[in-house]
């Protein structure tokens, strides 16, 4: 008897256009079904719970602003990451680059609190970008020079950045008038990233995200550099024959994604939180990885995916308030979604055939079951 590993993949002759466009939507529907089942198991009415989670946050002006605030860092980080992933560089440490961007940017108001001018915000933003870039540079250089695995180094740097932030807000950056609460001074009007519309809190981070999406879309589809990134990612040897340097590509994509994550970090600190705190991110850097894949590593797709994942955070808060469910459920939804996205993406390049017992194809030997 064959053991029952009766799923078999068959490469499609051409990629399926249908699944290329619809696999993210199928994944979303599957996540909703799984989420509904989870709520049911927890003793809630699944329809009501899903309504509270995914629809209610879209019904108020202020929640829409919150949605934009949460989606802008996700979109910005994920657009940077899609360059990394497209070129086969696994930058998993965007969370750390985000944190270092926040710290570097906040250092300006902390060190120069008296400095009030229009120029302070651009300086903070540039400083944040540099902070993210420096942090991203480390795994890139280690990979290029020593061949060190960038997945592990970039990830370790997240923990180091987290501890560094914790130290700095309790030590050198602590507000002396903060009654011993950890955290920097609250930013003044000049140091806060302004709101875009008068109707709510959405700040210019969203504008940066939109610009980032357009820049990366242009880079990938219209420039030689973008072509180089795609070639290096899909066929590294062919890329080398064409004279593309994998090392330079690694450096480039890490620097860009670090810059984007750093910008997202300072935009969050300056625009949304308005001071540096021991924790400045609910895991945006990791969630952005899901955003990148849900958006099928395409900047325009990422824009939509960022909004969906931001909704998963807002929904988590919503069910915590109205159904008394821990907001950890957001992580569950996010993890499930990534699973479904990856699974559905298989359908783009492969057909799934069920094993002999289902019997709708009976050709050839049982190779696929191994």
């Amino acid at each position: 008897m064959q053991p029952d590993f009766s799923i078999r993949l068959e490469k499609r002759a051409t990629t399926s256009t249908f699944f290329a466009y619809f696999s993210p939507f199928i994944a979303l529907i599957m996540m909703l079904i799984a989420g509904g089942m989870l709520f049911f198991l927890m003793g809630h009415n699944p329809f009501k719970a899903l309504y509270v989670y995914f629809i209610e946050p879209l019904t108020d002006t202020w929640t829409l602003h919150e949605l934009a605030i949460k989606s802008s860092p996700l979109i910005l980080i994920a657009t940077g990451l899609c360059l990394c992933f497209r070129s086969g560089n696994w930058n998993i440490g965007a969370e750390g680059q985000f944190i270092m961007g926040g710290i570097a940017g906040a250092s300006i108001p902390v060190f120069f609190p008296e400095f009030t001018s229009f120029w302070i915000l651009p300086l903070m933003l540039i400083s944040g970008v540099l902070g993210g870039m420096v942090w991203a540079l480390i795994p890139a250089i280690l990979k290029n020079r020593f061949g060190t695995n960038e997945i592990l180094t970039s990830l370790m740097l997240v923990y180091i950045a987290g501890h560094f932030l914790d130290w700095i807000v309790r030590g050198p950056f602590r507000n002396p008038e903060g009654f011993n609460f950890p955290g920097s001074i609250s930013f003044s009007q000049w140091q806060v990233l302004p709101e875009v519309f008068s109707s709510g809190r959405m700040h210019y981070g969203m504008i940066f995200a939109i610009i980032g999406v357009i820049v990366v879309w242009f880079l990938l589809s219209k420039t030689m550099k973008g072509f180089e990134i795609l070639v290096i990612g899909q066929a590294p040897r062919a890329g080398q024959f064409a004279g593309f340097s994998p090392q330079k590509t690694t450096l480039f994509v890490f620097l860009v994604s670090g810059a984007f994550a750093g910008l997202a970090g300072i935009a969050e600190v300056s625009g949304a939180i308005q001071q540096l705190r021991p924790s400045i991110s609910p895991g945006y850097g990791f969630t952005a990885i899901i955003v990148a894949f849900l958006g099928r590593l395409n900047p325009l797709g990422i824009f939509a995916a960022g909004i969906v994942l931001a909704l998963s955070y807002l929904g988590g808060e919503a069910v915590q308030i109205s159904l008394n469910v821990t907001d950890k459920i957001a992580n569950v939804f996010q993890g499930l979604l990534l699973f479904f996205v990856l699974g559905c993406d298989t359908l783009i390049h492969h057909r799934i055939r069920f094993g002999h017992s289902w019997g709708f194809i009976k050709q050839g030997v049982q190779h696929g079951t191994g």
Binding site: L9, F146, N149, L152, L157, Y159, G335, F339, I352, G370
Partner: protein, 306 residues
């Protein structure tokens, strides 16, 4: 009990989960599958071990449940990466994110609840040996198991036929497939073994190391276990050295704090992660060593030709 004894004991306790998780991942990677979900499987092991110890009143049942949950959780990863040939890096991350979420959800009810400790098993006679008796023969069952696991994995990989098959599959899945070996089945089993080990390693944290449930209590240990496999260049004996080295680094920071050095605690807490980077750099410099031992098909999906 002397100070040295006491310090070494804490090192042993800190090293055990790293050793178990890294050995499991080593077997998985030897079959050619890179499972980055160790952190997620460990945290699921930690919460299920803790919860089932309380449900049943028996910490051994907790450890058993952690193993089972670890296997079930790893099957999710196996199905995607092996049957659906998804990207292993991304799928492993999904497993970690899901694990952190699910464990948080499940553990909500256990925050602040005192856990049940897995009591040490004192080996008669041997435990009376001065110094060594205390270290090696008055430990909990998971510690003893970790040593057996090390011996078992070494034997399995290099002395048994099944181990040869596993390594063949990891080094060249196409050749292994051509020889009639079952790539899919081997990899499923290897991933499940990794899941069992990660689950047990997690249970060690919540049943021996701290005996309480803290959200995200694995604190990156799963990732360090992954780094240990690279550090060990896929050799079980070197995993042992690495795990105890890292256990020592983790404990050293506590003792440095206790001795009252004027170093911020956060810097000391960051030490294990920094050490991981340094060690990875040193190891990867020696390219020949890593090249020889890295399973050649590591991280590559397998689709059989027609």
């Amino acid at each position: 009990m002397g100070l040295v004894e006491a310090i070494l004991l804490t090192v042993f306790t800190a090293a055990t989960p790293l050793l178990i998780a890294a050995l499991g991942e080593l077997v998985t990677e030897r079959s050619g599958v890179l499972n980055l979900g160790v952190e997620g499987m460990m945290i699921m092991g930690a919460i299920s071990g803790f919860a089932f110890a309380i449900y049943t009143g028996n910490p051994y049942m907790g450890a058993l449940a952690a193993i089972i949950i670890g296997v079930l959780f790893s099957l999710l990863f196996a199905f995607l990466t092996i049957s659906l040939v998804t990207n292993q890096v991304a799928t492993g991350l999904a497993l970690t994110i899901l694990g952190l979420g699910l464990s948080g959800l499940w553990g909500e009810a256990f925050i602040g609840v005192p856990g049940i400790k897995l009591q040490p098993i004192i080996v008669p006679l041997l435990s009376d040996i001065p110094f060594f008796g205390k270290l090696f023969f008055q430990q909990d069952i998971i510690f003893y198991f970790s040593i057996l696991l090390l011996i078992g994995v070494s034997w399995f990989l290099f002395k048994s036929r099944a181990g040869l098959v596993l390594r063949a599959v990891g080094d060249s899945h196409t050749s292994a497939h051509a020889l009639g070996l079952s790539v899919i089945k081997t990899r499923y089993l290897a991933v499940m073994f990794g899941g069992a080990c990660s689950g047990l390693a997690g249970a060690h944290l919540s049943l021996v190391y701290t005996t309480q449930w803290i959200e995200n209590m694995t604190a990156g240990r799963g990732w360090i276990a992954l780094a240990l496999v690279v550090f060990a260049s896929w050799r079980p004996n070197r995993v042992l050295i690495g795990a105890y080295l890292f256990g020592a680094v983790g404990i050293a920071q506590l003792h440095i704090q206790a001795l009252g050095f004027k170093i911020p605690t956060q810097f000391l807490s960051a030490l294990p992660y920094l050490a991981t980077i340094v060690v990875l750099v040193i190891i990867s410099q020696n390219r020949r060593l890593t090249m020889v031992n890295t399973p050649a098909s590591l991280g590559k999906g397998f689709v059989a030709d027609k």
